[in-house]
């Protein structure tokens, strides 16, 4: 039973510590901690791993699918087990904890508070807190003193920092989902986290005015509701994707100029732009110019969700096309709203414009229902893209009428590019 094997035959324990750590880090925390009973050498090898991940996989909850109804006792037992495990691990852990990942729906606030305090004293760099319980979790003040933090992901939390909070000076990546915080707090965080490069924000509550400032900011994804957004000092911002979910929109432009000019105007470094939901409608409020006062020299990819029958939205789309001389890729998804104010001869008039899209190679048009404006747009694209390679057409899945006539018409359009291919996908 207790065989003493020749120590020379042990093939793994003598690997360098950092290698063992790499191995242990790839194990769920439970298996990692259990290596402490393997042999004398392995007793504390786990205790220095810098990453601790606790989620419903590490400590499986008492159900197997989301339909099981849990009794209060199930929840309490599970909570005890989870709390116990985390307490034990943190207590026995030795050394810095660089990454801590907590994702569960079963926790009591006060426990998380004490863990955050522990982490703030142990050099936490990457923190993920996904609280999937019923109410939101208010992060404790010790959270705001985690000065080494570089990557932060919060789900269902409340952020109310102390007055003295001056931002996280090393924070590079911030991901907030269903977080409650005020306009001021958001602004403080964003403007004081000077190293911030990536910002992902989904459904913030309590914050409708977004002032985004970031000398190092490169990537922005926004989903949710806002009434006002502006970019101040974001010269490196190259990826912007905004999914606007509220339909009550305001004009934020100065004077007559439209929101597009006001909001996206300063972003001259843009490389990829994506809009979803009502954002294009938001951009269209005000007087839309033919082209912007600036050109987006670096803008290579545009993805829009818009209504082809809406005049203002179409104007915005055209304005963007005209202001992006180096565009490579264009994707438009048709939003079949009830609103239609595009005149019949609109696209005819555009035919006279000199709008040559000299670098456009790939165009994708989705969810079309074979409306005239859609066809006319595709005609416009085909006629003005000398290096076009593919025009991919995907129709909306519930069309029942006969499309052959429209397809024939499409195929007969004049193509500026000799290598242009039209690819038709009937199934989405």
């Amino acid at each position: 039973m207790e065989m003493r094997l020749n120590p020379g035959s042990d093939i793994i324990s003598n690997l360098p510590d950092h290698v063992i750590e790499t191995i242990l880090v790839h194990l769920p925390i439970r298996d990692a901690v259990r290596t402490s009973v393997l042999s004398h050498k392995w007793r504390y090898k786990w205790a220095t791993i810098p990453e601790l991940v606790f989620d419903d996989y590490s400590i499986p909850p008492p159900f197997f699918d989301h339909n099981t109804i849990l009794t209060a006792q199930d929840v309490i037992i599970h909570m005890h087990k989870l709390v116990n495990s985390i307490d034990r691990v943190l207590l026995l852990h030795n050394g810095l904890v660089h990454k801590f990942d907590l994702s569960t729906r079963f926790l009591n606030d006060s426990f998380i508070d004490s863990w955050i305090l522990f982490l703030s004293r142990n050099g936490i760099k990457e923190l993920t807190l996904k609280y999937r319980g019923e109410k939101h979790y208010r992060v404790p003040y010790s959270f705001f003193s985690c000065q080494a933090i570089t990557c932060l992901k919060l789900l269902c939390c409340i952020l109310e920092p102390p007055f003295v909070f001056k931002g996280f000076s090393h924070l590079k990546s911030l991901n907030l989902h269903s977080v409650i915080l005020s306009d001021d707090v958001f602004e403080t965080i964003i403007s004081n986290c000077i190293a911030l490069e990536r910002l992902r924000v989904i459904e913030l509550y309590g914050c409708t005015h977004f002032k985004i400032r970031g000398l190092n900011l490169q990537h922005l994804y926004f989903q949710g509701e806002l009434t006002h957004i502006c970019f101040i000092d974001a010269p490196r911002l190259s990826f912007v994707s905004i999914f606007l979910q509220n339909s009550l929109l305001e004009h934020v432009g100065r004077g007559d100029s439209c929101n597009l000019v006001q909001v996206l105007g300063p972003l001259t470094g843009l490389e990829k732009l994506a809009t979803e939901g009502f954002f294009i409608k938001f951009l269209a409020i005000g007087n839309v110019p033919v082209r912007l006062p600036v050109t987006y020299d670096r803008l290579k990819s545009i993805s829009l969700v818009m209504n082809f029958e809406d005049l203002n939205e179409t104007l915005v789309m055209l304005c963007l096309l005209q202001s992006s001389p180096n565009l490579h890729e264009l994707e438009i998804v048709h939003d079949d709203a009830d609103f239609a104010d595009l005149e019949e001869d609109f696209w005819k008039a555009q035919g006279q414009l000199d709008c040559s899209m000299n670098h456009l190679r790939v165009v994708r048009v989705s969810d079309i229902v074979w409306l005239q404006p859609e066809l006319q747009f595709m005609k416009f694209v085909l006629a003005n893209s000398p290096v076009l390679e593919i025009l991919s057409v995907i129709r909306k899945s519930d069309i029942i009428f006969d499309e052959t006539k429209m397809m024939e018409e499409l195929l007969r359009f004049e193509r500026a590019s000799s290598i242009a291919e039209i690819v038709y996908n009937p199934n989405l």
Binding site: M1, E2, M3, R4, L5, P7, S9, D10, I11, I12, S13, L15, P16, H18, V19, T22, I23, L24, H26, L27, P28, I29, R30, D31, V33, R34, T35, S36, V37, L38, S39, H40, K41, W42, R43, I59, H80, K81, N84, S85, I86, R88, V89, L92
Partner: protein, 384 residues
């Protein structure tokens, strides 16, 4: 004109490798840049000791494939999956060698593979896979290390350890009686508590066969009684058993202690399930003295015997300590045990601790500390 780099492994053998393949290893790359070595056979780059020729050829295969820029991610992944299908020893050597050559992607790949071999396995299986010695000392095995013990595998392990411990103690007992006494103490306290308190609802701490059997039979009854009414029948039963035992074997004073501390609904719950309780074995000599007439009829004979031994020993212990207890001048306030929701048997504890302290406070305290969270709390509360 292809250029080659010359590499020398620790055993002295030299081989030549295409330059772009060798340069894929950061360590070799650095060597070439900094020292200019490797361009000819006489100036071959010495590779770290952990790289032997067989492993080197594996590593070079890896480099040869991955240094080609045009491959798709899918291709690379597919190659990687086939590449790590090696025997465990090879895999470990490969990890070590890749690490010494600073080839991080390969270290990651092999680490993942090794992690897959560890994940979900029992310690025995893991030891077998990697030829690890099972050399934890007994004390080390006793310390609480796990973070959940609800896993049936862990509970099984707990039982196996407990059994092993008992066997070990058995052997030791035959040699060294003095040392044994202390162990006996530890066990008895825990056992007595568990015994008195009956079923702990699946607590792997009270691991002795005795208690297990007791738990087994009483479990069902317990469940029904537990929530609201104090399980008075159980209490009385325990009480009665103790009375019987004490009257048969112990002195009158001992009897008093036991009599005057009835236990109410016992809920010595250990929410943290992961502590080991040190177990002691009884002196085989004492076994012979016991008869099993007074114990709970539900237990099978083997259990009965052990139970007898436990209690007998405890009683003996208590007997000998009784003088100390008296001499300490402590008034034994043997008030009824108050058991609150999380089961801290406060006053009950004090009696024991005083008795034990007189002999060898540190040992006893640490022994008690092993027994479970509830008990620890008791200790701190009673000011020890």
């Amino acid at each position: 004109m292809k250029s080659y780099i010359w590499l020398q492994t620790a055993d002295g053998s030299i081989q030549q490798v295409e330059e772009e393949v060798a340069m894929f290893c950061p360590m070799i790359y650095q060597e070439i840049l900094q020292t200019g070595m490797g361009s000819s056979k006489n100036y071959a780059i010495s590779l770290p000791q952990r790289v032997n020729p067989a492993i080197l050829s594996l590593i070079l295969d890896y480099c040869r494939f991955h240094q080609v820029p045009g491959r798709s991610n899918k291709e690379r992944k597919s190659f990687d999956e086939k590449f790590i299908r090696l025997e465990t020893k090879r895999l470990c050597e490969l990890t070590s060698a890749a690490d010494s050559l600073q080839l991080k992607p390969l270290v990651d790949l092999t680490s993942r593979a090794l992690a897959r071999m560890i994940e979900g396995k029992t310690p025995e299986e893991i030891r077998e896979t990697f030829h690890l010695p099972d050399d934890l000392t007994e004390e080390e095995k006793l310390e609480p290390l796990r973070n959940t013990a609800d896993d049936p595998r862990i509970r099984l392990l707990n039982r196996l350890y407990a059994r092993k411990r008992r066997e070990l103690k058995d052997k030791e007992k035959l040699k060294n009686v003095g040392v044994e006494e202390e162990h006996v103490d530890e066990r008895s306290v825990d056992d007595l508590l568990s015994f008195i308190n009956g079923d702990n609802g699946g607590n792997p701490v009270s691991d002795s066969k005795v208690v297990k059997a007791a738990k087994h039979k009483k479990k069902n009854r317990r469940r029904k009684d537990q929530p609201r009414d104090s399980s008075s029948n159980n209490v009385n039963k325990n009480h009665k058993e103790l009375d019987d035992l004490s009257s048969v074997r112990c002195s009158g004073e001992v009897d008093n202690i036991l009599v005057r501390s009835p236990c109410e609904t016992s809920k010595l719950k250990n929410v943290s399930d992961d502590t080991f309780a040190p177990k002691a074995e009884l002196d085989p000599a004492t076994k012979a003295e016991l008869d099993d007439s007074d114990i709970d009829d539900e237990l099978d004979p083997a259990m009965k015997e052990e139970l007898d031994r436990e209690v007998e020993d405890f009683a003996r212990r208590l007997n000998s300590d009784w003088q100390e207890i008296l001499s300490l001048g402590q008034e034994k306030k043997l008030a009824p045990i108050s058991v609150n929701g999380n089961g801290s048997l406060q006053r009950y504890t004090s009696a024991f601790v005083f008795g034990w302290n007189a002999d060898n406070s540190t040992i006893h305290r640490s022994a008690i500390a092993h027994i479970g969270n509830g008990f620890e709390k008791m200790l701190t509360q009673s000011g020890c």
